[in-house]
């Protein structure tokens, strides 16, 4: 097992892809009794890779020792539980990943992962379609450590089948030279010095979410009319030349090149920008409120009982405050685990004070989670948002 860990992530992903391809072939071979065969296939796979948990996660989202090429917290997990983990950084895009595994989930065949990490709205889709499994609460006692703000999302109100991996705050980011007083309200954002130099996020739940909060709308009960009002507001700001672009993470480049002076952006990006360019950029949750979203650990419906128990132990491991603090020191997103801040004091006292990673209670109260949308809403709302963005 230790030997397996010494492999590079690339090598491990190759090994894993071979395993999953074999599972697919097993599924194809089973004419007539496909279901039964696939079940055999998946338990066979778990056996062939020992009791390793196959975890698909986003790139650069787990503490990594670049000298030794290891993931320290994963190694400690293996050392303390004897459960090996096959860590795969190949969750690059929600839609792409879903497209890749959807057919197998539908046929109840092993998808090659025991633990996946979809963003809230995609996690909601998996749950709707019955593609995830409920946790055995006894295996995850640390679940109680989840931050209150993240504990009751509408798609999984009791956190029975998802637990946040990292939280993402949506708020205002700005160039401090151009906005010496900071950006704390929508009026500050749409102030004359920012005209034509504002960028908002392509993630509609964050952009429209921040706008709606300023209009006094509750995101956990947002209606179609309210949402469309928010979209109209954005469309008008684009037409009037206030908003320069609707972008993903690239807004960070625009801030550094001076093309943008204020943005609706994400905490993690702004943390990196602010720390790389001392004093030049800042981030804050709007006075009227910001958004909170997250990527979630979730166990696919195709995972065998044995592998599921191991995956649950892994989830429990990362809800231990000391371990969560180690991860946070590397990834700089909002840590969803209570008590991690106290643990961070021991590792890095400066980071323990960071509002980006450990927002104060006052900040947390001011964040809200966008409600889960029905499939029809998802299509209609994103169509309206995309149209307003010029698409």
């Amino acid at each position: 097992m230790a030997k397996k860990h010494s492999l590079s992530p690339e090598a491990r992903s190759i090994i894993n892809s071979r395993v999953s391809r074999r599972a697919v072939l097993a599924g194809i071979g089973g004419v007539g009794a496909a279901g039964a065969l696939a079940a055999c296939g998946s338990s066979g796979d778990s056996a062939s890779s020992g009791n390793a948990v196959r975890w698909g996660n986003w790139p650069l989202y787990l503490d990594f020792d670049s000298d030794k090429k290891t993931y320290p917290t994963l190694d400690k997990f293996t050392a303390s539980t004897g459960i090996d983990v096959n860590y795969l950084e190949d969750y690059n895009d929600n839609d792409e990943f879903f497209g890749k595994v959807q057919a197998q989930l539908k046929l109840k065949q092993d998808i090659g992962y025991d633990l996946v990490c979809p963003t809230d709205w995609m996690a909601a889709r998996w749950i709707r379609l019955g593609y995830s499994q409920k946790f055995d609460a006894a295996n995850i006692p640390n679940k109680v450590n989840i931050l209150d703000a993240l504990a009751t999302p509408s798609y999984d109100a009791k956190r029975e089948q998802t637990l946040t991996w990292q939280g993402i705050m949506g708020g205002f980011g700005w160039n401090t030279a151009k906005n010496p007083k900071g950006v704390h309200t929508l009026d500050d954002l749409f102030a004359p010095q920012n005209k034509g130099k504002i960028i908002v996020l392509t993630e509609m739940r964050d952009t429209i979410g921040v706008i709606l909060r300023a209009q006094g709308v509750d995101l956990s009960t947002v209606t179609e009319d309210q949402f469309m009002n928010g979209v109209d507001f954005m469309a008008k700001k684009i037409a009037d030349g206030w908003i320069r672009g609707v972008k993903g993470n690239e807004y960070a480049q625009d801030l550094t090149s001076g093309d943008a002076t204020a943005v609706i952006g994400w905490s993690g990006d702004m943390f990196i920008l602010a720390s790389e360019n001392a004093g030049k950029f800042d981030f804050a949750i709007p006075e009227s409120g910001g958004t909170l979203s997250g990527d979630n650990m979730m166990i696919p419906s195709t995972v065998s009982a044995e592998a599921k128990a191991n995956a649950e132990k892994l989830i429990n491991w990362y809800y231990d405050p000391a371990i969560a603090a180690e991860v946070a020191a590397y990834v700089n997103y909002l840590t969803p685990v209570k008590g991690a801040q106290a643990e961070m004091e021991k590792i890095n006292p400066d980071l323990a004070k960071s509002e980006y990673i450990f927002p104060s209670d006052a900040t947390l109260k001011n964040l809200s989670v966008f409600r889960a949308l029905t499939p029809a809403e998802e299509t209609k709302w994103s169509e309206a948002f995309q149209k307003a963005s010029g698409n």
Binding site: R125, E383, N391
Partner: protein
């Protein structure tokens, strides 16, 4: 018998490749384009209902981006032709021993990724690049004028990115012109302009047609330049297709738009080739 079969057998891998990676996807796309959402189904679930109205809806909904795509592509093609013709002419007739070196320079940008080159333009034209501050201090543009996130930046990006596609075919056909035909033209008392109009240009027409097609076709379907250098007001049809497919998860509309774009390009190109009168080229 064996002799007759051999060429066909040799063609098999090519046919197989085209069938798998061209015919099948096209059929699949055609099939997707007339689907409609499954009633009560989840996001991205569609069923075949042969709804050809999808095409009309998709087109009417995005007329603006269609028009913009073709206008930008035409401007970029004309600009690329204006830049490339003298360049190709100079390399073919005037460069002497530097010919190969200059050709390498034309191709050199291709050694880096298309995306990186476009992002580089964003830096060059950005607020803190050297172009904007220089133009501002010279009073050529006003203090509030910016270059990125404008249609100017998108068209410039396209012109630059597709320039070698124009230059290389032009060079190939100009280089083939026998210099003695130019001398003969002079001997017949034609001035430089008449020689160009009556001899050089007609003889280089295959290059002009090939170059304009190789520039125009990818430019019309391009979305990278518009998404990196543009703004919400400069989106092209490629951006719409991307957003329909990945963001809205509306596969039928994305497929219908792709087919409409293909048809529009095909029609324009056919008219162009007819007018240019070089059927033998294509």
């Amino acid at each position: 018998m064996g002799k007759i079969r051999t060429p066909y057998l040799l063609l098999l891998p090519g046919f197989g490749f085209l069938f798998t990676f061209f015919i099948l996807p096209i059929l699949n796309l055609a099939q997707t384009s007339t689907q409609t959402p499954v009633g009560g189904g989840d996001t991205g679930q569609y069923e075949q209902t042969f709804r050809f109205q999808n095409y009309i809806d998709a087109f009417l909904d995005n007329k603006e981006q269609f028009a913009r795509s073709f206008i930008y592509a035409i401007i970029a093609t004309i600009l690329a032709l204006m830049i490339s013709y003298p360049l190709a002419y100079a390399i073919a007739f005037k460069a002497g021993k530097y010919k190969n070196f200059l050709l390498v320079l034309v191709v050199a940008p291709f050694f880096t990724s298309f995306l990186l080159r476009t992002v580089a333009w964003k830096q060059i034209l950005g607020e803190e690049g050297f172009v904007v501050p220089t133009l501002r201090s010279l009073g050529i543009i006003s203090q509030s004028t910016t270059l990125t996130s404008t249609s100017f930046a998108v068209v410039m990006g396209m012109t630059y990115n597709f320039l070698p596609f124009m230059t290389l075919p032009l060079y190939a056909s100009i280089d083939r012109i026998d210099p003695r035909t130019l001398e003969a033209s002079g001997d017949l008392y034609a001035n430089a302009f008449t020689t160009f109009r009556k001899v050089t240009l007609p003889l280089s027409m295959p290059g002009v047609v090939a170059g304009t097609l190789l520039t125009f076709i990818p430019a019309a379907g391009d979305y990278v330049n518009a998404s990196i250098l543009g703004s919400p007001n400069t989106k092209m049809i490629g951006n719409v297709i991307e957003s329909r497919y990945f963001k809205i998860v509306d596969y039928p509309t994305a497929a219908a738009l792709s087919f409409t774009l293909m048809a529009a390009i095909l029609i324009l190109v056919t008219i162009y080739i007819r007018k240019a009168g070089t059927e033998e080229l294509v």
